[in-house]
Amino acid sequence: MKREMLGLACATLVLSNAAYAQSEQSGGPIFSFDGFGTLGLAHSSEDKADFLANDLQGTGAGRGHSWSPDVDSRLGVQFSAQFTQQFSAVLQVVSEQRYDKSYRPQVEWGNVKYAFTPDLSVRVGRIVTPSFLESDTRKVGYAQPWVRPPVEVYGLVPLTNSDGVDLNYRLRLGAASHNLQVAYGSSSAEVPENGGTVSAKDAWLIADTMEYGAMTLHAAYSQSKFSLDQFAPLFNGYRQFAANPAVQAYAPQAAAQADALADRYDPDDTPITFFSIGASYDPGDWFVMAEWGQTDTRSVFGKRQAWYATGGYRLGKFTPYITYAEADLKSPQSDPGVTALPGGAPFAVLNADAASLNAALNEQLAGAPIQKTISVGVRWDFARNVAFKLQYDYSRLGKNSPGTLDHQLPGFVPGGSYSVVSAIFDFVF
């Protein structure tokens, strides 16, 4: 496959033995080396848009490739070091398809941890953002039942890590154990198709994971300042329109409208909140799991909600599962835009400008994912440390919405339906 991924794979094989030899020694620091990966193909019935595992991928199934290896394939390696009882460090490097379609390895996690007590620790560096139940192993397919976490819910927060600091506190209350996390940091990523950068600054997060027997409950809340360069041209367009001397002189109301629209919708250090709750129950022979999440920002992104419920039954080496997921928009899908321009020939050009700005704004508002998906699949643990998974997804799109599909070509018709077939191998080493 891609050269970068192979490079990482070779480095991996060499280091694997070295690390193993060292971990055999007793006393002193303990080093360990582990890896995970997925090799997969996904096919989408919609060829005028890309089906993606997340919004940050440059290409996907459908428009990009009929059968795309780029949706799910990845390779990750992790080095852990326990220097003393208190002091440890972890480095996780992942090679997966990025915004520019390359597989350049990225540092997913790189942090040092100091444990004041066995139950209270602090981490500094690049740390996982515990938005969801499966956030810690979002990229480790082998640890999950599905081909990929439901895109409706996990797509709410495509940024998976944060540079900063977090505090972890473990608490046993009766038979239940809690892991409380408070984190502060910032994160950013490049967006495909010259979309610039997406970032979350001054991000505060609080999360609790409770385990009680076979039951796990997770809740997270975060707030940050959210920016997305992608829309700058549109909102700069509105601002220029408002600054146009002709508009200011003859249609001051329209100028005020344009300024207000830019302020209202431009995600530029705009406050965003995220809230999620989830539960899973896994007594061994079967499992059920459900999560609900919401992002809310006063910007073109609006207020988005999504949830899923999934369940599976283990029959020896086979685990068939079924999932239902929904993504919805709870803020308006359209806006009248700039309306306060007088008619008539002298204003024809300005009206045309306003119309094209309004059209672009409404295209973005309508681009929010609204879809309902039913998935069936099976995991087959056919060999040690390797699982094969086959999954079929059928999605119905909300009115005028492309759903979670991206990179639409002209001629793409929103509001229809599509299906995805995926076959993957997940492995750990």
């Binding site: 303990i30 972890v90 154990s177």
Partner: protein, 146 residues
């Protein structure tokens, strides 16, 4: 009726098939500690929590260090099936979660049972598992409480 006393050649195979079909464990795997260990009894949940890294102390407060048999051995698969109701793939997936969160590493592996007994004998805070028939004076079986 003389034919009832005959022992047909297929009888052992049938017995084995029946025991497999009824889900009864063929091997009798027992958790063991050093004969010198003060540990006497643990609940099934405590045993499995120690092996899954969720519990790192014995009830008396002493550190508890689990010792696994090698990956792929029948005794290891039987142990987790009987004590955790988890298949080898489920156990591997569980440890993938822990390892890739930087939360810990699976227990050290020691095999075969002869070596487990030797290692346990020298380390009173270790806990392992072997077949009941392999228990000798170096180790003692942990009594399972309800």
């Amino acid at each position: 009726m003389s034919f009832l006393n005959r022992n047909p050649s297929w009888a052992p195979a049938l017995a084995l098939a029946l025991s497999l079909a009824s889900g009864a464990a063929v091997a009798d795997v027992v958790p063991v500690v050093s004969a010198k260990s003060p540990v006497y009894a643990l609940s099934k949940n405590e045993v499995i929590d120690i092996f899954l890294g969720k519990l790192n102390r014995f009830p008396d407060g002493e550190p508890a260090v689990p010792i696994d048999q090698a990956e792929g051995t029948e005794i290891r698969d039987d142990f987790y099936m009987e004590y955790a109701n988890r298949s080898p793939a489920q156990i591997k997936a569980y440890w993938s979660k822990i390892v890739f969160t930087g939360e810990g590493q699976p227990p050290r592996e020691v095999s075969p049972s002869e070596r487990v007994k030797k290692v346990l004998a020298d380390h009173p805070n270790f806990i392992g598992y072997i077949e009941r028939s392999e228990v000798d004076s170096k180790v003692k079986i942990v009594v399972l409480t309800k």
